[in-house]
């Protein structure tokens, strides 16, 4: 009690302070203290695991943590040295910002180019013969064409048909020509044939039955002393006709 009074009596000398509510003005989130103990225990267990040097199956090399501080400091020193601005070595603005994207794009393009083009291929030796083919179609085009024309004429279908047509024409012409020069044709073109053609057949039969002896023709012709050539015969027959009229 006395000590308690000792603890509080001093306030009587400080009225401003005495007037202030001595209750704790600070607060905590709702339920904070209810689980604080559990959280501290969990934190303690975690700390113990860390201090054991392994975490389940995870270990670190010997003396890792002893050397870690020095390694970090060395790394800081190295990176600090790299970060110093060197007027001789600079990069364009934003270079490192875009570098990763550029590398990715480049890798993609090169992979695409290196892939075998399964859809687009060329025959074997194509590019070796390509120059010669181009030249043949441009500079050497005339020589190539003329040789080609001759060969093509001989082997073309049109040429074959033309040849056959000419052969048929020649054959027909020959046949026609032979017919035109034959005796039958000649006879049909004579005067006697033409005159007899105008006389009806029945009249010719009647005349022959009445007037003609099979042996008379030769005798008639023989009696007149006419030659038996065609011209003489024709003249004799013409005279007979004139006499009969």
């Amino acid at each position: 009690m006395k000590s308690e009074m000792e603890n509080k009596d001093w306030l009587n000398e400080y009225m401003s302070l005495k007037q202030i509510n001595p209750a704790n003005p600070f607060t905590v989130p709702a339920g904070y203290f209810s689980d604080l103990g559990d959280r501290i225990v969990a934190f303690k267990n975690l700390d113990e695991l860390k201090n054991k040097g392994s975490f389940g199956d995870f270990t670190v090399p010997d003396n890792y943590f002893e050397e870690l501080t020095g390694n970090i400091q060395s790394r800081i020193a190295v990176e600090g040295g790299l970060n110093t601005t060197d007027p001789e070595f600079t990069v364009p603005d934003g270079y490192f910002d875009n570098l990763q994207e550029q590398i990715r794009s480049r890798v993609f393009v090169e992979e695409a180019l290196s892939e075998p083009a399964g859809q687009f291929t060329v025959p074997e030796g194509y590019f070796d013969k390509l120059s010669a083919n181009i030249l043949d179609k441009t500079v050497n085009q005339g020589a190539v064409k003329s040789r080609g024309i001759i060969r093509r004429l001989y082997t073309s279908t049109a040429f074959k048909y033309a040849t056959a047509a000419c052969f048929a024409l020649a054959l027909s012409g020959g046949i026609l020509l032979s017919e035109l020069t034959s005796s039958v044709v000649e006879h049909k073109g004579t005067f006697l044939h033409k005159e007899l053609s105008n006389i009806p057949v029945d009249d010719i039969k009647s005349y022959l039955q009445l007037n003609v002896d099979p042996s008379d023709a030769q005798a008639t012709v023989a009696s007149d002393d006419a030659s038996i050539d065609d011209v003489s015969l024709e003249n004799a027959l013409q005279n007979d006709v004139n006499n009969a009229q």
Partner: protein
């Protein structure tokens, strides 16, 4: 709710490996709030206090086996918590590259923005006044004003003589009073 278990029982159980975890759970239930508030009044921010209280109890777990009973258990834990707070605040100063005065301003800003402060205007002013004090004076005042600790107990925590602590405390109170009056 803190439980009423004797420190001797906790220490006894802790010595046995089979009951060590049980002893630690008992320790947590008994002292976690006291240690938390002690830290919280120093660092102001709840999240910082949450981190530190876990670190403190990890240290307690690691060193409790070597605890000598010539000091009280809770003053020993208070000492660990106090040292952790001072280390934390010094690191924060270095990290933010601020001076000691600017660190007080930083904590004042934290107090102003804190969601977990439910005090009235006067209580806020008191906290602001405390932030103007050197760390050891602030510690003495907090342990005396909020925790009702005896000078002898505070001496065990801070490793300072009772006389020096009394002087430090009265100096702190005067500064606070002057601050409160100046801001009226």
């Amino acid at each position: 709710m803190p439980i009423e278990v004797e420190d001797a029982e906790i220490l006894s159980k802790f010595q046995d490996e089979k009951t060590r975890n049980e002893a630690f759970n008992l320790l947590l239930k008994k002292y976690q709030q006291k240690i938390y508030w002690h830290i919280r009044r120093m660092v102001i921010d709840h999240d910082d206090a949450d981190d530190l209280v876990q670190d403190v109890f990890i240290k307690i777990w690691k060193n409790l086996a070597g605890f000598r009973s010539d000091a009280q258990l809770y003053t020993w834990m208070y000492r660990i918590a106090t040292n952790e707070c001072i280390t934390f605040l010094n690191k924060k100063k270095q990290k933010n590259n601020v001076s000691l005065d600017d660190m007080d301003n930083t904590l004042a800003d934290t107090l102003a923005d804190s969601t977990y402060f439910d005090g009235d205007k006067a209580q806020r002013k008191l906290q602001e006044a405390l932030l103007t004090l050197p760390e050891k004076q602030k510690l003495v005042f907090n342990m005396k004003y909020y925790d009702d600790m005896k000078y002898e107990e505070i001496s065990q925590v801070l490793g300072t003589s009772v006389g020096a602590l009394k002087a430090s405390f009265h100096l702190a109170v005067k500064k606070i009073e002057a601050y409160l009056l100046s801001k009226d």
